[in-house]
Structure formats: C-alpha cells, structure tokens
C-alpha cells in the first residue's frame, strides 16, 4: 500500500494514499465532527461541519472530501475551525424546529448530538421556521420537511440503494427542500415504504407512523385478547435499541419484556415463518412438477411486493401466492387459535413487532382480512417497541430470559434465518429437498446464499433435477436480477427477493444507525440463533405438524388456500397523459 506522510494537529503519521483527511485524522485518534457523512455512502460534502485548516489553502476544507497528500499539514482544532463549525451548526439550528422533546429522534439525533458536542448553547440567528406541511398521507411513513437539514442521505438510499428514486432535492437556495416528485404526498407515488430513508436520516425528518398509542390502548382494554408476534430479525436488533450492543441476541429478554408490557400471549412470527416454508415449499414443488410459472419469487417482504406491483407487474404470476409470515400469523391467530380458546376473532387484537415500516402498509391492505376482521391490527417497529419498553421502565439487562407461549411460539432455526438475506431460500431448500427426495439433507447450511453480496446463486440437486436458485437483497439488486431474468440472460427455478439491504435485519424499522457493519453483526447473530436451536427444518416443527393435523389439513389445501394465500394487484407509477 502506498503511504503518504501528513501532520495532523502536530502529530506526524503515515496514512494510505487516497485516504481523506477525515479518515487520516481518525487514525490519529481525532474524530472530526460530521453530519452529511455516512459510512456506507458516497462523499457529499454539503453540510460543511467537518471543515479543517489545510496549510497553504486559502479557505477551510471539508475533511470528508479532501484527500491527503505528501507533506500535508492539517489543523483540526483552531479558533477559526471551531468558530466556523459552530456557525455552520447554528445556521442549521436557526432553520430547524426547537422542539426536540416532541421529535421521534430525541436523544438519537445527529444534529442534537453535534450541537451538544460543539458546545452550542445559543443560536445567534433569528429562527426561521419553514412552515411546510407534514406528509402523513400513507399508513407507513411520515415526512416532516421542516426538520430536514438537506444532507441528502435519504436521497442516496432511495436512488442508489433502492433505485426507486422517490426523494430528490427540489427548488434552490433558501427554498431548497428534499421532496418527492412534484411535491406530492407519498401515498400518490410509487414509494414502497421500505423506510431506508429513515435509517439514513440523521434527524427526525422521516419516521414511521406511530402505533404505540393504539397498542397501549388495546393492552388496557379488558375486552381484548392482545396477542403479540415478533419477527425473526427483531431478536438480534432490539438489544441495540436497549443499549446491549450490536448483534446481541435478546430473544428471551424480549419475550419477558413483552409479557411485562401486558400482552396476553407472546407468540412468534417464526412459527408462521415455518408455516410459510410448508406452503411455499410445496408451492415450489408443485410449480416444478406441474409445469407452473417459473422462476417462482418469494413473497415475504412487503416492500418488495409493493415494488413488484408498481414496477414489475409482469412478474405477478411468478410470485408465490403465500402471504407473508406476519399475515399468516394474523389469519391463524384469529381463526385456529381463537377457536381453540373460544374467542371471537373481533375480540382478538394482533400486534406485530417488525424490523420494517412496509409491514404497516401490508397489515392494512384490504384483502388481509381472511379471519373475517383485519388479520393484523397494529405493527410496531423495533424502535417503537424500544420506546414502549423505556416508557414502562423495564431494565432489559435485569430481565430474565423467558420462553414464548405455546403453540404459536414454537419455531425452528429455519424460521430464524428468514431475518437475513438468503434465509428464506435456505429454509425452503431444507424442507423442499427432504420432501422431494424423502432423504435427510447431507448438509443443512447453504453457505452460497448467505452474506451481503448483492446477488447470490446456487444449484441444488434434488432427485436428479438441478434446481437453480438466486437471492437478491435491496431493490437495486432486485431490479438487476429481474432484468437479467426478463432478457433471458439468467434462468432460475426459485428466487428470493428481500427489499432491504441485508434482508430484514437491515429493515427500515430497525434501530438507527443501521450501517453495513451493523447488518453483518446482526446476520452473524441470526445464524447463531439457528445453530443453537434443536430443530432446524420447518417441517420438523411439532406445533406446525399439529396445526395441519388439527386444522389446516395439508399444505396448499382448501383451508390454507383461504387463509394463507393471497393475490397481487398492478399499481400505477406516475400520471401519464
């Protein structure tokens, strides 16, 4: 590696050529403050918070963008630098609401943290509120352009990672805002509600539609039986929200916390993830053996499904008709379990804990009412659950590890890995292989479909048939894969698509910040959960076997068809003349 010699605040050091001043300073133990900078994104250099003095340079330079050079002398902590950084942040604060306690990002806000770090106690400029309307047009995401500081991190997430390109800077100068096309409400645009913009936002300008109040209300309503389900990816991320570190596995503590919040039953979306595998695995086998439409595409990710409906309606016949595990849970809980308990479906209130904002949209889709009422009543992101746990004063470190309730709390390792990209594929292969061949799998781990590579492929021999599979995560990669399939360039039997980078562990409802480093550690944790479970194949789940015996009959049977399968609708993109 080529090195260059630089002096930063008097420290002489050799750093790799091509490093920015920001990176070089971090090697020297100096953390230059930043705001528009994001570890997984391109350099933007629009906020000017990271300015430093470079000897020989007429003006201050942005450390995030300025490359080091041989002999460079940098000063990061001079009166001019400190004064300028304060001025920059004060100017932002002058156009930012001063109501931190009522903001969703209070105490998790990068602007607030920065102001504190720079010792800003007063804003010398007159406050100028933008007075722009809130966009709360849709069931999943709220945009508050008044809080936006124009860093453009959401724009990169929306365009480069997801490729849906909804948000963009519009107007200019003092009137500039980040807004959707034609400044329309998101509900009128082909936004998929993935929430990657939320994870990228340093402040509270974009956030989820709050469901905590309706959940508290249901919990305290004596006429309601309130059941909660927890998505696979939440057990490896709630710990971050509770200060237990990235990648902490908190399954048992989460169950204990939910019980103490007052839920009547603590169940697991992993139970219906196993059920999804039974249905989807058999659907795949049926399509393979009966000349069905191939490649079959997975249907668990509601952001991906909305993307499909807007942008790739021609693939609707390819998508599995299986509902997502969240919706299967709602349908089973309000029929099978309610009948078991002698409850009426309308007295059962189903709450989901999800790593996702698009799940809020999915839950209110009008067709998701096969139990006779809306199958899922409220969806909390991991962040919202964190808020409820803090409000209740529960010390997660002190909580015991508890078990889920029976029977909708029983699951296998195959269900756990739904939370990571490649996991649904791997879980489906574990079951499909054994159903087709009648033989136990020689090796349970399909390493080829794991990890953060954008598109992954594998071929699995099943009784002489070479089953070709592919996995894509993030809609940018999904688009590339679908285009390759469309052009005939690539041929597969089965494709898993997850809307968010890394899969659900990187979802838009996860703790902030969700960086690629956090994604990898959550993925490692989720495969750890899988390894630690005694049963690792969905068809071996005894509670699932019982569900089929007592209620459903068989996979793809009459009752399954009614309760567990759905259909999709082509949706418009933009208004055309």
């Amino acid at each position: 590696m080529d090195l260059v010699n630089v002096t930063i605040d008097g420290q002489k050091l050799s750093v790799p050529k091509g490093f920015t001043i920001l990176e070089a300073a971090r090697l020297a133990g100096i953390d230059i403050p930043t705001l528009c900078h994001h570890p997984d994104q391109e350099v933007k250099a629009v906020c000017r918070v990271c300015v430093v003095e470079v000897e020989g340079s007429r003006t201050l330079q942005a450390a995030c963008a300025y490359p080091v050079a041989e002999g460079m002398v940098v000063r990061t902590n001079t009166p001019l630098v400190r004064q300028t950084r304060r001025m920059v942040v004060e100017l932002m604060l002058a156009r930012h609401p001063a109501d931190c306690p009522s903001c969703t990002r209070n105490l998790h806000c990068e602007l607030q943290t920065l102001a504190e770090r720079l010792g800003i106690r007063e804003v010398r400029f007159g406050r100028e509120e933008k007075g722009l309307p809130l966009d709360d047009s849709n069931p999943a995401i709220v945009r508050d352009p008044n809080r936006c500081i124009l860093c453009r991190r959401c724009v990169e997430a929306c365009h480069k990672v997801q490729g849906v390109g909804i948000l963009y800077p519009v107007h200019r100068g003092a009137d500039a805002i980040v807004a959707p096309a034609f400044e329309k409400p998101l509900a009128e645009l082909p936004c998929v509600y993935c929430g990657q913009c939320i994870n990228a936002c340093p402040v509270g300008a974009i956030y989820e539609v709050d469901h905590t109040e309706r959940v508290w209300k249901a919990i305290h309503d004596p006429s309601k039986h309130v059941l909660v389900q927890t998505a696979p990816a939440t057990r490896v991320s709630l710990g971050e929200e509770m200060g237990l570190g990235v990648g902490a596995i908190v399954t048992g503590k989460m169950v204990a916390a939910l019980r103490r919040l007052g839920f009547d039953r603590v169940f697991d979306t992993n139970f219906t993830a196993d059920l999804t595998i039974m249905e989807e695995g058999h659907e795949l086998i049926h399509r393979l053996t009966h000349g069905g439409v191939l490649p079959m595409l997975t249907s668990c990710s509601p952001g991906w499904i909305k993307f499909l409906e807007h942008y790739y309606p021609e693939f609707i016949p390819n998508v599995s008709t299986c509902k997502s595990p969240q919706q299967m849970f709602g349908a089973v809980a309000k029929t099978y379990y309610a009948e078991k308990m002698g409850w009426k479906p309308e007295d059962v209130y189903v709450v989901s804990i999800m790593p996702c904002t698009a799940k809020k949209f999915e839950a209110q889709r009008p067709e998701m009412d096969d139990s006779g009422v809306q199958d899922v009543d409220a969806v909390l992101t991991v962040r919202e659950l964190g808020r409820m746990i803090r409000e209740a004063g529960l010390d997660v470190t002190a909580l015991p590890e508890e078990d889920y309730d029976d029977p909708l709390g029983r699951s296998t390792g195959a269900a756990a890995i739904f939370g990571a990209t490649g996991g649904v594929m791997e879980a489906a292969l574990r079951t499909a292989y054994e159903v087709v061949t009648g033989k136990p799998l020689p090796k349970l781990d399909f390493e080829e479909v794991r990890g953060l590579q954008g598109i992954k492929e594998a071929t699995v021999a099943m009784d002489g048939t070479q089953v070709k599979v592919a996995v894509a995560h993030s809609l940018g990669h999904a688009r590339r894969l679908l285009e390759a399939v469309k052009s005939g360039q690539a041929q597969y039997h089965f494709i898993e698509i997850m809307c968010c980078p890394g899969g659900c562990i990187g979802g838009g409802g996860q703790p902030v910040p969700t960086t690629n480093e956090a994604r990898q550690r959550r993925i490692d944790a989720i495969y750890q959960v899988d390894r630690n479970l005694p049963l690792r194949k969905s068809h071996e789940n005894p509670a699932i076997q019982e569900l089929y015996r007592e209620f459903l009959g068989q996979p793809l049977g009459e009752k399954s068809h009614h309760l567990l399968h759905t259909h999709y609708t082509a949706r418009p993109r933009y208004r055309k003349a």
């Binding site: 390109g165 963009y168 519009v170 200019r172 096309a181 933009y574 003349a577």
Partner: protein, 180 residues
C-alpha cells in the same frame, strides 16, 4: 435624475414563455401537448446531456412544463421523475404551471435592490393588482422575482419576456406596461 428608462437590447433569453395564457388553462397536459413533448424529446434526446435542452425547448414552445411532460422526459432519458422535477424547479426560468401571456421578472439581487428595485416592485404590484407569483385576472401578466439578470450597470432592472428595461423609477411602470 432625468435618465430615461432604458430598453436594453440583447440576445434571446433561455426562455420565451409567451405562448400560452393562464386564463382557462387546466394544469394538465392534453394529448396534443404530449405529442409535441414527444416530438421535442425525439428531436433532442441524442444530444450529450439532453435534459436541459429538452426542458428548454418544452418551456419555449409550450410556455410551461407539465407534470406529464416531466414524466415523459424522465422515462425517455432513464431518469426518475423526481430528478427531472428537481432540475425543473432549480431554474427560475422554467415554469411548472401555466403563466400569463407576458412574464415580468423583477431583479431581486443586491445591485438592483440598492438603487430602488423595491419601489419598482411595489409600483408593479399596484399597477397590476397582483402579488409576486400571481397572474392578473385577464391572464396578461405574471409577476415574478428573479436573481441577477446581468445588467447591473442599469440597475434597477426588470425583464418582460425577453425584453430588459433598466434605470427604472416607479413612475416609468405605467408607460412600460402600456406597450403590452
């Protein structure tokens, strides 16, 4: 005192938004409008960096750039409509809605502000009976602000369509408007 208001002659500006009147215009493009938009796109799409030339041509030939036109341009160029809208709203000479037959732009930059652009603007508002951004009820004039139009030597200055007027005093406004 006494310097007459100056009619400054120069080349055509980027826009010639005079083609349409606001009166009776819905903010939607008709199929005929879209045929013209598609014709403009096919004429200019092979240029390097074709977005601005296409938007300029739509603005010039049609007087404003509709939402449907922006969607059409985005699809043709492989862009997202949000990007085309972002570019369109960045430039003050592009209009996203129909305007009056004549567009009056008052320079709001410092060199015009100092010798009295404010009073000129007030005189225009009074004469037209509209605020900045509005169109007169008869659809004849739209009043707007603009940043520097490059004639600081004759400040304060305004533009009406492509025509620049400089060295203005509030009293000059009546005679200038009477020309239209």
């Amino acid at each position: 005192m006494g310097k007459a208001s100056l009619e400054v002659t120069r080349g055509a500006a980027a826009c010639g938004c005079a083609a349409r009147t606001a009166a009776g215009n819905a903010r939607e493009a008709s199929p005929q409008d879209m045929a013209r938009v598609r014709e403009i796109i096919s004429r200019l799409r092979d240029r390097t960096a074709p977005l601005l030339p296409i938007l300029q041509a739509i603005q010039k030939e049609m007087g404003w750039i509709s939402e449907e036109a922006m969607v059409e341009v985005a699809e043709a160029l492989g862009m997202h409509p949000s990007q085309v809208y972002g570019v369109t709203t960045f430039y003050t000479l592009f209009a996203t809605g129909p305007k009056g037959k004549h567009v009056i732009r008052v320079c709001a930059s410092a060199p015009c502000h100092v010798p009295g652009a404010g009073a000129v603007l007030e005189a225009l508002k009074k004469a037209l009976g509209v605020e900045v951004g509005e169109t007169t009820p008869d659809g004849k004039f739209t009043l707007e602000l603009t940043s520097c139009i490059g004639v600081c030597g004759v400040a304060p200055a305004i533009m009406i369509d492509d025509q620049v007027y400089g060295n203005l005093k509030p009293a000059d406004i009546g005679a200038i408007l009477a020309r239209y």
